[in-house]
């Protein structure tokens, strides 16, 4: 287990009031796999990514729980300890918006910076390794000495990945790495992440709202809704036989190119985190909701080996309650 998250709770806003964007989330990620996290807006997926890096924004704080990455406990650390962890043990790639690279620095310098920050080598060698890393992500010589504004969105995203992996971290967290990129580039970036995992022996956590894209790449998948985990399982299990009604709804609402079927949609509006419903958060939109769902305390059940689901439907005699 390279990543272990236990009961993570993150609050935005002041104590007592505020909004719990992530509420008692537990995750386990095996070493070397590509682990996908799927969630729509407001699911808390980006907050989990930032919490794993110890980079929660001003106003957000970890209210409880723990995050352990390669044996390093992230929560409750001092800034200096986090700094030596970031970029080396775990690194982050996020949405390729306009400004993820410093506009005043050359590409190769921004990649080499990771090595220099950790004093892993001298300037000359750092540049050398930065260039190798850029080549690894598919950016050739002609790009090395350019500035970010001279690159396309896809190239900037590759450069960001190069800077994230140059120090060969154990875990790469990719938060919406393909959003705002063109369709063809999206697949290429996801493929790149898979190749890098093999070449560098990293664990990759791919976080996205795009269920098919995550499914295309991942070994295991975790589905989030409203700051809570819905279910966790292997990619093929989840896609072929979803357990949680939300997962099923999500699968059915995806427009498929190859089979022209009627899409089903999830009724209702997304959960309002400032006023979450009692019990199961998905209940107001759930077709299988029962009376006891409003009392649901988010116990996890494991109706099949290797799978976990957070839903009262599985609380019957077959479901084994886990602590």
């Amino acid at each position: 287990m390279i990543v272990e998250i236990r009961g993570l709770t993150v609050r935005y806003g002041p104590e007592g009031s505020g909004v719990r964007a992530v509420d008692h989330v537990s995750l386990d990620v095996d070493e070397g796999i590509l682990y996908g996290i799927v969630g729509e807006s407001g699911s808390g997926k980006s907050t989990i990514a930032m919490a794993m890096m110890g980079l929660l924004p001003h106003g957000a704080s970890v209210e409880g729980g723990s995050i352990s990455i390669d044996g390093f406990e992230v929560t409750g650390r001092k800034e200096s300890q986090l700094a030596s962890f970031r970029g080396r043990t775990a690194s982050l790639v996020f949405q390729g918006a306009m400004n993820n690279l410093n506009p005043l620095m050359r590409i190769e310098d921004q990649v080499a910076e990771t090595l220099l920050l950790h004093r892993m080598c001298g300037r000359k060698e750092a540049l050398e390794r930065a260039r190798r890393s850029l080549e690894l992500v598919g950016l050739g010589k002609q790009v090395w000495r350019l500035y970010p504004h001279e690159l396309s969105g896809g190239m900037k995203q590759r450069a960001m990945i190069a800077a994230a992996v140059v120090a060969e971290p154990r875990v790469l967290i990719a938060d919406e790495p393909t959003t705002a990129l063109d369709v063809i580039t999206q697949v290429q970036i996801v493929n790149l992440l898979r190749q890098l995992r093999e070449k560098l022996g990293m664990t990759v956590i791919l976080i996205s709202h795009d269920f098919p894209l995550v499914s295309e790449a991942s070994d295991r998948i975790c589905i989030l809704y409203g700051g809570k985990v819905c279910e966790v399982g292997s990619n093929s299990h989840i896609v072929r036989k979803p357990l949680h009604p939300y997962t099923a709804g999500l699968l059915n609402s995806v427009v498929s190119l190859r089979e022209r079927r009627e899409i089903m949609t999830i009724p209702g509006e997304p959960v309002d985190l400032s006023r979450p419903p009692k019990g199961c958060r998905f209940m107001p939109r759930c077709g299988s909701a029962m009376e006891k769902c409003s009392l649901y305390a988010y116990d996890s059940y494991s109706p099949e080996p290797g799978r976990l689901v957070y839903c009262e439907m599985y609380s019957g005699p077959d479901g084994n309650t886990e602590a």
Partner: protein, 284 residues
């Protein structure tokens, strides 16, 4: 509905509430100066000149025997009149040019913006001194001089907002439905720039108050009316300052400072509510 919500947020903003309280206090002072002043501010008394502070003259008297407290209270009138009126002129010109420049774009925009650049770069106070000196004393002259030389920053800010607003889909939708330029400007663009306009108007008032005081201090502008800048100038020219007459010099300066600060606080509070990033904390 949205408007009252913002006003409540404004009152909850510490800067905003403090600024509002300050401005309200001075407005009261200006309006009720005739009732709260112990003396007629212009009645001279040859027997009671250059008196030190005393219970009957809390700030003493000047070289003509005029009661300084009364003069300081009356001074609020000119500062507020000039500040509000000159800022009004500046904001009106800036708003119209900014709206026209941003909305129509092209050559009109290019020409207006070069003029704006010119007015921003040139040393406005020097021109104001010269023009005010040439025009001679008079309240309207001062208002005009300050107003006509302070509109450029407002125009620039309004224009940049209009540039982004006119591309918004809701504006395009109105255009696609045969909405004319005037309709779009008044119905869609103006209401959405007004919030920024309020903040900048407050800053314009504060700088107009400052400029009026500075002009009078330099001996140009409406030197004949009772104003804080004038009281300080008299302290200098009569030698009261070098004689160490604190009661003559200190109060009018504190009044100018406080009033300006009040308007600046309001301006910043409005800006903070509009641009939550500046608040510090929050989501950073």
């Amino acid at each position: 509905m949205r408007g009252t919500g913002l006003f409540i947020e404004f009152l909850h903003n510490r800067k905003g509430a403090a600024g509002l309280a300050i401005v309200a206090a001075f407005t009261f002072m200006a309006l009720f100066a005739p009732f709260i002043s112990p003396y007629n501010p212009t009645s001279t008394n040859p027997q009671a000149f250059l008196l030190p502070p005393s219970p009957s003259h809390p700030f003493g008297t000047d070289n003509l025997g005029q009661d300084l407290l009364s003069r300081d209270l009356y001074g609020a009138q000119i500062s507020l009149i000039v500040g509000l009126a000159a800022a009004g002129v500046a904001v009106a010109i800036g708003l119209v040019t900014g709206l026209v420049s941003g909305y129509f774009g092209g050559l009109v925009d290019e020409v207006i913006m070069r003029i704006v650049d010119f007015f921003i770069v040139i040393p406005a106070l020097v021109i104001m001194i010269v023009v005010a000196a040439l025009l001679g004393p008079g309240l309207l002259n001062v208002i005009a001089v300050i107003g006509f030389l302070s509109w450029a920053p407002v125009a620039r800010i309004i224009r940049s907002m209009v540039l982004s607003l006119r591309e918004r889909p809701f504006v395009e939708s109105a255009r696609a439905n045969n909405g004319g330029s005037l309709y779009i400007m008044f119905r869609h663009i103006f209401p959405n720039v007004s919030s920024v306009l309020y903040g900048n108007a407050m800053l314009a008032v504060s700088s107009a108050i400052f400029t009026q005081a500075a002009l009078v201090f330099l001996g140009v502008g409406n030197v004949t009316s009772i104003s804080w800048g004038g009281i300080i100038r008299e302290a200098y020219t009569t030698g009261a300052l070098t004689a160490g007459d604190m009661a003559w010099v200190v109060p009018p300066g504190i009044f100018i400072f406080t009033l300006i600060f009040g308007f600046i606080l309001i301006g910043y509070a409005v800006e903070e509510i509009m641009n939550p990033r500046l608040r510090g904390g929050g989501s950073g």
